[in-house]
Amino acid sequence: MGRATTVDDVTVIATESLSKRFPRVTALDRLSMDIEPGVTGLVGSNGAGKSTLIKILLGLSPATEGSAAVLGLDVATSGGQIRERVGYMPEHDCLPPDVSATEFVVHMARMSGLPPTAARERTADTLRHVGLYEERYRPIGGYSTGMKQRVKLAQALVHDPQLVFLDEPTNGLDPVGRDEMLGLIRRVHTDFGISVLVTSHLLGELERTCDHVVVIDGGKLLRSSSTTDFTQTTATVAVEVTDTDEHPDGTGALREALSGRGIDTRTGGELPGAGHTILLTADGEETYDLVRDLVADLGLGLVRMEQRRHHIAEVFKDQHEARPEPGSERAAASAATAQQTGGGRDEQ
């Protein structure tokens, strides 16, 4: 009992050179990490070892080597206690179509050990919190994908766990459903006080939702740091201006004016439309003022001026640049071929 009460101060998940080897593959390779309370994203491509890690953390599959603790409890010996305090939302479909969400979640609450009355009350509360209202009395078979995902989330939260594992919760959702689900996941921590470990192979999602991101690849820890580290606000500023009769090339004019004041600029990259974006490094508030004044002097319209953040995706890029693999040569070769064929098509 005493161990669980101090959980806010300690790490929620801790692994120490955790390895899992199957006869043919190594799913986890000496993974050591500490995860603190909050929303943590676990990123990795398919087969990176995410699901294996969750299985071990639930105490359902023994590790080949190393150790892991969840909420201060050893996964090897206290699996039952861990599963009482942890919720799990699987990636795949897991809902029977012929019962209502209420019936199903009540049953799952009782399977978590909640007495009948508490199970019903908590079910009503939880379904409302995930955004299911009147439809919760209808059979699940008639639900949309978004509603089904909410039921899956509800069954993971119904016993008020201290930590939930959400395996690809945004899978199969449309952009709106995705945003709603991500908002819900954020609330699970901020409003409900439940720590979250959410897996995804989409970095952009986790960037917005998580406090901390762990990247694993091939069962190895690639990087583990807070999202603010990942996407640290850099001093890069993006500016976009309109053209006028006086300055048919507004972008060029502004760049000239800026270089006249000793500020290096570059264009925004190769993406369509990015040629009109000017990137510059700001030294502080004065730079913003200077840009504003120059734009006003030239009589251009300022479309936007914003701070650029690093995207988590760049973590992967950095990693690949850092350790060139035989694969990258092949990739370069195929890229060259693609260019050739592309050029060939142009000639025709």
Partner: protein, 293 residues
């Protein structure tokens, strides 16, 4: 209008500080949910129809026999307690075929099993609950008509000691039958997540084995090799139960010529029955090791 709905949205999250009753409670809950489910209770009206009809069909002959016995002031009931389930074995097979797949293959087909195993409940708890629930459901189905017979017999003022002994023997017999049949039907249903296959396979295993065994027994009887009859009975579930109750529970055998097993062969029968029940349990445990998370 809109203000009402926003009010509902704004109720804050409440923590749960109440008791968590753990594994044993979850096991009991799963047991009662599965047992009720076998009779369609707590489920749609449609799923109550078949089990309830079968239950009525099972009890009706008993009620008629009792009525006849009371009206004609008969000295004895027209059917032994131990014989009743054998006579109505088709109803038992139908009930099992319909309800065993419902009990286990739903969770497999809809992949609900991982949700159980991510909770304190474990594989053994799950298998035990399902096995116990199916056995209890079948025991209720087979013991209820015996109860009707017994109460009727007492009303008809038949000999109390005789009737009580017969009733007790009948109960032991159907308890054994429930364990054996449930085990076999559950293993078959757990192999396939498809309910239709489960239904067909359960009926096939129960009726084909019985048909084959009784045919070969009849041939053996015609050819005068009566010694083989008792041994042949080891190869189908219902003849196994018949053999056990003939040897130890004072029943008259339904085998051709009444050539039931002697006490010596009866021991083999009991061992085979117990071995099969244990084997079915083991097979279920193996099956669920694969479908975890």
């Amino acid at each position: 209008m809109s203000s009402e709905s926003t009010q509902i949205h704004n109720i804050g999250y409440r923590k749960y500080d109440g008791p968590r009753l753990g594994r044993a409670y979850a096991r009991r809950s799963l047991f009662s949910q599965s047992l009720r489910g076998a009779y369609g209770l707590g489920r749609s009206a449609k799923s109550k129809v078949l089990p309830m009809i079968l239950f009525a069909v099972m009890c009706l002959p008993a009620a008629i026999m009792v009525a006849v016995a009371v009206a004609t002031k008969a000295k004895d009931l027209p059917v032994d307690y131990t014989r009743y389930a054998i006579v109505l074995q088709a109803v038992i097979s139908l009930f099992l075929a319909a309800q065993a797949p419902r009990t286990v293959s739903r969770d497999l087909r809809f992949k609900t099993v991982p949700l159980y195993f991510s909770r304190p409940i474990e594989r053994g708890d799950y298998v035990l609950s399902k096995f116990a629930a199916m056995t209890s459901a079948l025991f209720i189905l087979t013991a209820a008509p015996l109860l009707v017979l017994y109460v009727g017999a007492l009303l008809a003022k038949l000999d109390f000691t005789d009737q009580t002994t017969g009733f007790a023997q009948g109960l032991v017999s159907v308890a054994l039958l429930s364990l054996l049949f449930s085990g076999i039907a559950l293993v078959i249903s757990a192999i396939t997540p498809r309910r239709g296959f489960g239904i067909a396979a359960v009926i096939a295993v129960l009726t084909i084995t019985y048909g084959a065994v009784s045919t070969v027994q009849a041939i053996a009887y015609e050819q005068g090799s009566t010694g083989a009859i008792a041994w042949l009975g080891l190869f189908s579930p219902i003849t196994l139960i018949d053999g056990v109750q003939t040897a130890f529970l004072g029943a008259t055998s339904a085998f051709p010529g009444g050539e039931g097993p002697s006490s010596g062969v009866g021991v083999v029968y009991v061992l085979v029955v117990l071995g099969l029940i244990a084997g079915c349990y083991g097979a279920m445990m193996r099956r669920y090791r694969k479908v975890g998370l």
